[in-house]
């Protein structure tokens, strides 16, 4: 791996964990000049390697009414367009959070956010299932998020280490 790529990887790994990190501080951590880090970040934004800066939120703690569902979707791929066209029809709905093409027992995995179970069910029965190429759907509601985006949602326990050891 060349030096530029290595630096980029290190920047990305740090940003992925903390998108709010100060670029000057990141430069110190990586042992390079701040301008170099800033340039790479700008370039990677332009190249759409960095697609956005999101925030991990534990909505459960806000008291907001929200349910998340994982929906397995089996579809018939369309001539010349494979799965892309049908995926597009699904991902354009704003309440759809993610759409993945999946290997195995079904084709698309859709994650969806809604206020209530009913709202999600209605979306599935009124929007998703009626799409011509959709053969079947199976909806799973998320009951509890233990870990998301590499972050364990439970509060971290205190350390058992002694304060001073040789």
């Amino acid at each position: 791996m060349d030096k530029k790529q290595e630096l980029r990887n290190e920047i990305l790994k740090n940003l992925e964990k903390n998108s709010r990190i100060d670029l000057g501080e990141l430069a110190v951590l990586l042992g390079v000049e701040e301008a170099e880090v800033a340039n790479e970040v700008t370039e990677m934004e332009q190249e759409k390697i960095i697609c956005g800066y999101h925030t991990m939120i534990n909505w459960d703690k806000t008291g907001a009414e929200q349910v998340t569902a994982l929906i397995e979707v089996r579809v018939t791929p369309q001539r010349n367009q494979g799965f892309d066209r049908i995926a597009e029809r699904i991902y354009n709905y704003p309440e759809v959070n993610a759409v993945y093409l999946i290997s195995g027992g079904y084709d698309l995995l859709v994650t969806l956010e809604g206020k209530t179970l009913k709202e999600v069910s209605l979306f599935v029965s009124e929007k998703l299932s009626p799409i011509d190429s959709v053969i079947s759907t199976a909806t799973h509601f998320i009951l509890k998020k233990y870990k998301d985006h590499g972050t364990i949602m439970l509060p971290k326990k205190g350390s058992d280490r002694m304060a001073v050891t040789p």
Partner: protein, 389 residues
Amino acid sequence: MRNPLSKKIVQVEPSGIRRFFDVANEMEDVISLGVGEPDFDTPWRIREEGIFSLERGRTFYTSNAGLMELRKEICKYLERKIHVSYNPKTETLITVGGSEAIDLALRCMLDAGDEVLIPQPSYVSYLPCTVMADGVPVIVELKHENEFKLTVEDLEPLVSEKTKVLVMPFPNNPTGSIMTQEDLEPIAEFVKAHDLYVLSDEIYSELSYKGKHVSIASLQGMRDRTIVINGFSKGFAMTGWRLGYCCGPHLILEQMIKLHQFAIMCAPTNSQYAAVEGLRHCEDEVEEMRKAYNQRRRFLLHEFARMGLECFEPFGAFYVFPSIQEFGMTSEEFATRLLYEEKVAVVPGTAFGDCGEGFLRISYAYSLEDLKEALGRLGRFIQKLRNEK
């Protein structure tokens, strides 16, 4: 009643700063930079393997020298890392931490009156272990101007007919200093010229930030003069599992295994099974930890520079060793005041030998958030001291 105690044991001095340690460990709300162990949990796959070994009922002794499976993995690992080959059957011993291996090695090599060259500042156990093995410790003071590396000039005036063993504590606790191939070569020549043996404590070998760690055992003619001591505590974040190992020539290892058999039987069985998993599958996790330490190391040095706190750049372990000589107080005074006035615990350099006077050991086995908070307090404290002057 007769005195139940051995004179030899009573004469071994307890660590002079134990009092400081006790105070720091009992104080509440202390932000500590004083710990000599990783802040990372042991990688999960290692822990899971430890749990699985218990579920499988692997609760019996292993052979005295340790699980053959683990010894083989260790030999492969050393071949890969330091390019030295050992026979897992006759030249490898699994111990209860690296510290057991230090004790065994010295006891197996020393007769009464044999001298041991011990570079300081260094880990606290070489000296008492030498004394308990009836050896005579000869302290080699490492110098700040050499960035606490060992040089032949340091050794030359101290070697005698009686010198038998040289301790090589690199990467070094507490200074973070490392020895490169170029630094080691003259030392190896010195060792051969004086027909010495080397106890090379490489427990921090995974934590080298400037090129790969080089073992003195890999230098020409040194393999059969060196006992390499290493373990899982630092690189694999496994301090509490108590698992170390040593490799060296059969002649010495045979005696060490014998002693270990009588004193210990064998290292903890489930720790051994867990460690096999670590050596086979955790290279990436170890690398990630190394990178995290390196980032913190750079951060600390950058902050010291901003505060105007003098510190050479160390490239190993997870310690920095800044000088506090400008403040005109002892390391222990400084550390004690810092503890009481700002509730930050650091270790006075003198915990690791008299020549650590004027320095502090600051550990970066802490999250960046903790380091930032602690350095904020340290900066404030230093400012206060400068204003007092």
